[in-house]
Symmetry: C2
Subunit: 254 residues, 2 copies
């Protein structure tokens, strides 16, 4: 190998001051930046950096490309929004590593954590993750819908707060409505539901509603949907919005 390396970097939710200095430093040292176009566009690349932007659905191709560039001696940074380990590029890179050229396994690889969307949303709302929680992607591109339903039903029965990534898209229009219907069979109608879009960015939007009133049209591709538990509380804020928190203690009534 010829001195190349691969850094897998979480950029955080969008605001510059929510990106970790370690990530900023790794980005600065890269010769090549790879990622989904809107994410690489967030990076202030210097003129001598090669930027390889690609489409959303091309994670494995991008991961292979990154590994090959590193094997060729480049200092490669692959970027994801939020944390690269939470429905970002990290798993794709390790899949490509396992399936690819054995020599790639000698490469220095480092994953740099970032503030994931779920943590940014939680901080914006107060403390909705104040107790046990789970993080589930509603995208059935890579897993059967039956697996997702199975997971959501168990999570509801377990009393976990749920962060739902990838709730809706043009090609997946009905899944979120179906999930709300499933949740209504397991949870009280009054459970808080939060639609949090583009948190920490200029077009940030937050809606706090209830499971009974939640509508799939209130989400888009950039929304994270948070489902509380029967114990999650809402408090009015001075600005008219709501604080949402889940108490640390749990009754024994499950």
């Amino acid at each position: 190998m010829s001195g190349g390396r691969l850094d897998i970097i979480g950029l955080g939710p969008g605001a510059a001051d929510l990106q970790c200095p370690r990530a900023t430093q790794a980005l600065h040292q890269a010769t090549d930046l790879l990622g989904y176009l809107p994410y690489v566009q967030r990076v202030q690349a210097h003129p001598e950096q090669c930027v390889h932007a690609s489409d959303n659905r091309e994670e494995i191709l991008r991961a292979r490309h990154a590994l090959q560039l590193a094997a060729d001696g480049r200092q490669v940074a692959v970027v994801s929004a939020g944390d690269a380990g939470v429905f970002g590029m990290a798993a794709a890179v390790f899949e490509a590593l396992e399936q690819g050229d054995l020599q790639w396994r000698e490469l220095p690889i480092q994953v740099h954590p970032g503030i994931s969307a779920v943590l940014a949303v939680a901080a914006r709302l107060g403390a909705p993750l104040g107790n046990d929680f789970c993080v589930i992607s509603l995208s059935d591109n890579l897993k059967p819908w039956t697996v997702i339903e199975h997971r959501v039903a168990h999570a509801a029965q377990a009393g976990l707060v749920m962060a739902l990534y990838n709730p809706i898209s043009q090609s997946r229009p009905w899944q979120l409505g179906s999930t709300f219907a499933l949740l209504r069979r397991h949870l009280p109608a009054s459970v808080p539901v939060i639609f949090a879009r583009a948190i920490s960015r200029e077009d940030e939007a937050v809606l706090v509603t209830s499971l009974q009133d939640a509508q799939p049209e209130q989400a888009d591709m950039r929304t994270l949907v948070l489902i509380g538990t029967a114990e999650t509380r809402c408090l009015e804020r001075p600005d008219g919005g709501a604080w949402v928190y889940t108490p640390r203690s749990v009754g024994g009534g499950l």
Copy 2:
């Protein structure tokens, strides 16, 4: 109210370059710092800042103290390790807010996200959270042990990767062993189990083993225990350690 404010701040896992600039800025502006002693000691307080360190078990007292100081016009920062919203101070502050003086609700409060232990551990290991996951505290100080068992069993049946916080302590010596026994009834013996201690700090330690071989003595109070799924993979690293990742796709066999 007299110009006071309250910032609830996640310091990240320990390394200075894993603390967000937003958190650093909020810490800098505070007149008063509150938190569990080892966490406030991490902050480079300036001489004119008042430091109020307290014991681990005193979250609600600390939260009330912070709110009262802010109501008295102070610029108050409450700190947690990792992310304050993940088994940190954020939920305690909102509990104290709801139960306390109505005037406290007029205070400007902001929660600043941090890199939680689970994200730091995942990045250190590769991509163990590459699919759906949950985060569960094994401490039965604030919830009955039956609730914890119920949640762990559902999470295992759901096929979620599990991050177990607060796995063991002097006053809770048997809970982790009991959890391993429960998990062995639901998951294959070969499922990867990771003991990750003090990640990003000088005394960091990582052990990758299997559910069959995992022993509770391999954890201490500063360890996060990660339980993979039947699909989680281990790959050898150039340094002899292991990469651990959970593939993005799931078979339909549940």
